[in-house]
Amino acid sequence: MIETENLTKKFGDLTAVDSVSFRVNDGEVFGFLGPNGAGKTTTVRMLCCLISKTNGKARVAGYEVGSRTDSLKIRRLIGLVPDNVGLYDSLSAYDNLDYYGRFYDCTEDERKDRIPHYLKMLDLWDKKDAVVGTFSKGMKQKLAIARALVHEPQVLFMDEPTVNLDPEAAKAVRDIILELKRQKKTIFLNTHNLDEAQRICDRIGILNTRLRAIGTPEELERTVRSQATVVQLERTNDIILAALRKLYPSGVSVDGSRITIAIENPDKENPAILEAIVRAGGRIQSVSVVGSTLEDAYLELVRERRRD
């Protein structure tokens, strides 16, 4: 559905997006994760044909980003929820959707059919005639999502849709995205909320000007390889520690009667660890494996850029 190859955007001397290549499949929720200024919004704007690219190639729904004729076709097939909702505050919720429906060439019958559908789906039907200026941030965000859906796009681009929302409103927006995911919509989600990305996205790209990594949340967690086996003993002694340090010269730490051993593969390594402890006379109370999180992966990958 979306393909980029060395997509690059420069503003003068500043490179905002540097040779980014990825592919988003049909019906997939793809998250772009990155800190502020990582180039997420710039990438979305390029893909939505709002700004030009400096180098590289990109295709959306088979159409070439950057071609004047294809740009109009792409914009017809996509929906955008920008970081600033940009609704007309002096118009009603219904009128906002109605005008955007017209801008997207929806017929009157289509608008009469879809606008109530989306307003009801997003729990805004009771407010259809209310002026948008009176809406809360959460309601505006939901209306912006309805606006992006009213022409039934093939791809939905969402630029940080839960930023600045209170937890309840953010959850409501996340639930809407999950509902759209169930409907097999292709969604490109910009976020810097790790939890949100992990819960919603099928795959995630970590961007920090350059694409640092791409994969499922689980794949990204594994890239950090910082797993550890934590063994709670009745008590520790030097013989047990010496036995473990013989297996792992570095990576063994002790906190009271709890020993933490940095490992790579718990299935293969844990039997040997436990055997060494028992042979050394240790009495094991519990064993657990602590894995790396998406947050660990994200922070490590983002820090890589600073080291570059």
């Binding site: 503003f11 704007r45 939505c48 709002l50 700004i51 030009s52 109009l72 076709k73 914009r75 017809r76 996509i78 955008l80 920008p82 600033n84 909702v85 940009g86 609704l87 007309y88 505050d89 002096s90 118009l91 009128d95 005008y99 955007y100 017209r102 801008f103 997207y104 060439d105 002026v131 912006a144 606006r147 992006a148």
Partner: protein, 247 residues
């Protein structure tokens, strides 16, 4: 270019304008007040004519100037609508979703330009009509005929007023790229009044006479200026710059 899409933008702006009472008041009040004031002046001069003064001659001098005011008014009024139409979208941050729709820049600009053009021109013509009707009623006894409509008033209202309104809108498009406050845009947009005000001043100083040929020459100059400004304002309206450097 799909005119229906441009009209969708225009009708959306009309609906937004209708919610802004201050804007409607400023568009309607100015030409109506000027028209009533000018009618009072005509009434005053007519009274002095009936008293044996030089009123008829004075009226022949005054009325072309008064008619020319409507070309100036047509340049002033669009500064409000154009500012709200373009800077208003900037303030509400609604340009990004609008630009993401499958509309060309030309369709958006034409739609916004039409929205900024029609209400002020309508108000100008309304004010001019009131002034002309009052003037005809008041001066028929003095002249022995209806002074309006005339060829010169036709040129002012059919050529000069629309052309000066278009110039005002084009200048506002350019200003919009630099400011993010509708009132500042409006104030800077008033600079477009200077060419028309200059022509009026020149006529008052006796440098030019606002006769048919002069009005046609001014119209031609405005037409050329409008065409040049159209290219400049079109060049100003670039998606990249609107989203990344318009502040």
């Amino acid at each position: 270019m799909r005119l229906s899409k441009s009209w969708d933008v225009t009708s959306k702006d009309f609906k937004v304008f209708l919610k802004k009472r201050g804007l409607i008041f400023s568009i309607l009040a100015f030409p109506l007040i000027i028209s009533i004031l000018l009618s009072f002046v005509v009434e005053f001069v007519t009274q002095s004519a009936s008293g044996g003064g030089s009123g008829a001659t004075d009226l022949q001098t005054l009325l072309p100037s008064f008619t020319f005011y409507y070309a100036i008014i047509a340049a002033i009024l669009p500064t409000s609508t154009a500012s709200y139409s373009l800077v208003g979208e900037k303030v509400e941050k609604s340009l990004e979703p609008l630009l993401a729709t499958p509309m060309t820049d030309e369709e958006i600009l034409l739609g916004k330009g039409t929205a900024a053009f029609l209400p002020p021109l309508g108000a100008t013509l309304l004010g001019a009509s009131i002034f002309m009707v009052f003037t005809d009623v008041l001066t028929h006894g003095t002249f022995g005929y209806f002074y309006f409509p005339s060829l010169d008033s036709g040129i002012v209202l059919a050529l000069l007023a629309p052309l000066s309104a278009i110039m005002s809108i084009e200048v506002n498009v350019m200003i919009s790229s630099r400011v993010s406050d509708a009132r500042v845009s409006q104030q800077l947009g008033l600079l477009t009044v200077f060419p028309m005000a200059g022509a009026y001043l020149a006529s008052e100083l006796g440098l030019i006479s606002l006769v048919t040929s002069t009005l046609l020459i001014i119209s031609c100059i405005l037409l050329i200026a409008d065409i040049l400004l159209l290219y400049v304002s079109r060049a100003t309206f670039q998606r990249d710059k609107i989203l990344t450097s318009w502040r």
